[in-house]
């Protein structure tokens, strides 16, 4: 009889050949504590502990497999149910957080900052000096977190931002990071071969341009001030904002060409 092994740690079923504690350990690539009767279904919890699955839970789980919801959707719903039932969180508060990130906290904030830096020399100076303070003083943005640092692209130097260790990102001004920023490919390559990384974004810089990569290994956060394109003299702030892409504020792109938005 096949033994059902459900791994809470991964939220997945183990492959069919994984039938005992030893083989689960092999699959996960680490040693597990010696198990009890290997012929009963069990659950490997996220703390690495091994527990039997109650017949009821195993039944519920089997039942869920037949539904249209993905396994992750079910597992996440279950965790939310537990947190709500235990009185830890209010569902409406979770809804509100999602709404904020989907509609309020995003790269349009950073774009406002960049437009201001392009058009107001004294703001540009205070931004480069202390970005948290300068941005927080902008009425249209409001208070942002500490330790924000703005770094300016010039014809000589192109700045790029990464977090090689996890996914640190200037969320207050750019919202949640795009998937590529969190990808293994970006995190591994940009500190060693930024020009091939830029090529993946369709960007080629002159060979003589210095590239400066900022690895966000602490709680400091970096916002790139892209170069203002030539030929945009006299443009309104709203027009200028259209030139500024999220990627240009990470350094993976440049501001758009005026002809692209005209």
């Amino acid at each position: 009889m096949a033994i059902k092994v459900w791994l809470a740690e991964t939220g997945r079923h183990a492959p069919a050949n994984v039938k005992c504690f030893q083989s689960v350990g092999d699959w996960l690539g680490r040693r597990l504590p010696a198990g009890p009767d290997p012929h009963l279904p069990f659950l490997l919890d996220a703390a690495g502990g091994v527990r039997y699955i109650s017949p009821m839970a195993a039944h519920n789980h089997d039942h869920e497999e037949g539904s249209n919801l993905s396994e992750m959707e079910l597992r996440v719903r279950a965790l939310e149910t537990i947190l709500v039932e235990k009185g830890y969180v209010e569902t409406a508060a979770l809804d509100r957080i999602i709404e904020l990130y989907e509609t309020k906290i995003g790269p349009h904030i950073g774009a406002q900052v960049i437009v201001k830096a392009w058009t107001d020399p004294s703001f540009r100076q205070s931004l480069l000096q202390d970005a948290s303070k300068a941005v927080s003083a902008l009425a249209e943005v409001g208070r942002v977190g500490d330790h924000l640092i703005a770094v300016e692209n010039t014809p000589e130097v192109h700045n790029m931002v990464v977090c090689t260790l996890c996914s640190c990102y200037p969320t207050d001004v750019l919202g949640l990071p795009p998937t590529w920023y969190k990808s293994f490919a970006y995190r591994s390559r940009v500190v060693k071969e930024p020009r091939t990384v830029l090529a993946d974004f369709g960007v080629t810089l002159p060979v003589e341009t210095e590239i400066r990569v900022w690895d966000s290994t602490a709680e400091t956060r970096f916002l790139v001030v892209p170069m203002r394109p030539a030929g945009t003299e006299g443009w309104s702030e709203a027009q200028l904002a259209k030139l500024i892409t999220r990627d240009s504020m990470i350094g993976a792109g440049l501001a758009k060409n005026p002809s692209e938005v005209a």
């Binding site: 809470a8 740690e9 991964t10 996960l28 690539g29 919890d45 996220a46 703390a47 502990g49 527990r51 699955i53 839970a57 993905s70 992750m72 996440v76 719903r77 279950a78 965790l79 939310e80 149910t81 537990i82 947190l83 039932e85 235990k86 009185g87 830890y88 969180v89 209010e90 508060a93 979770l94 809804d95 957080i97 904020l100 990130y101 906290i105 942002v144 977190g145 500490d146 330790h147 990464v162 090689t164 260790l165 996914s167 949640l176 998937t179 590529w180 990808s183 293994f184 490919a185 970006y186 995190r187 390559r189 060693k192 930024p194 974004f201 590239i211 400066r212 690895d215 966000s216 602490a218």
Partner: protein, 219 residues
């Protein structure tokens, strides 16, 4: 720890594939995981450093094969269980089996959302004068802590220049180990690519890390 999360300079991960008009979340559950992470972060049951350490501690096979928010989910479950806020049998059952703990900050409600979505401050009063100043040549120590650290492997043993001094910040190596904030001076240290990656590296490339004082020594 010398884990697979420390990816700077590794080869073999392929092309970067930016997604056009990428949605904020690709699945509904990703938003729920993010929201729960913000909410339970508000409980202050652990620090940001502890939560990173838990993700780094996932086995390599899981780290590589789980999506970003899957890792967050695994981390949340593990930390909630570790801190006794939920139990593994409840995760298995998919519902609460016993009452929750009393949280010092109370239930996470709408009124807490604004604070929970704004970054905290990690600056602290400096316990001692800074050892280094802008322009100093420093070497990133060749150290290999078995637990959480923010000194990436690619910088260890290499010489760079102190470019900025940020004041004292919470020291992740200590905070993640549950040993308190132990504030340390934080610096931006800039390295030439050829120092990091050898003579064939891009001569026009400079890479900086944010380095805590205990990571550095005078050259």
């Amino acid at each position: 720890m010398d884990g697979v999360h420390d990816m700077g300079g590794m080869d073999g991960f392929g092309k970067i594939e930016p997604e056009r008009n990428e949605p904020v979340f690709h699945h509904r559950w990703e938003g729920r995981v993010l929201a729960m992470s913000r909410a339970i972060g508000f409980f202050r049951a652990w620090t940001i450093d502890t939560s990173r350490y838990v993700v780094e501690s996932l086995s390599p096979s899981i780290y590589f094969t789980s999506s970003y928010y899957e890792k967050w989910f695994l981390r949340n479950v593990r930390l909630l269980i570790d801190r006794g806020l939920i139990d593994a049998d409840e995760v298995a059952a998919g519902r609460a089996l016993r009452p929750g703990q009393i949280l010092s900050r109370g239930r996470f409600t709408l009124a807490d959302v604004e604070q929970a979505t704004r970054r905290g401050s990690y600056g602290r009063p400096a316990p001692a004068p800074a050892k280094f100043k802008v322009g100093d040549r420093v070497r990133a120590k060749n150290i290999h802590p078995a637990t959480h650290t923010r000194l990436p492997r690619y910088a260890r043993g290499h010489v760079g220049i102190v470019e900025r001094v940020h004041g004292a910040h919470v020291f992740p190596d200590s905070a993640a180990a549950g040993k308190g904030e132990d504030p340390q001076w934080l610096y931006t240290v800039r390295f030439d690519a050829q120092e990091l990656w050898g003579a064939d590296a891009d001569s026009k490339l400079k890479v900086s890390i944010e380095a805590f004082e205990p990571y550095l020594e005078h050259v």
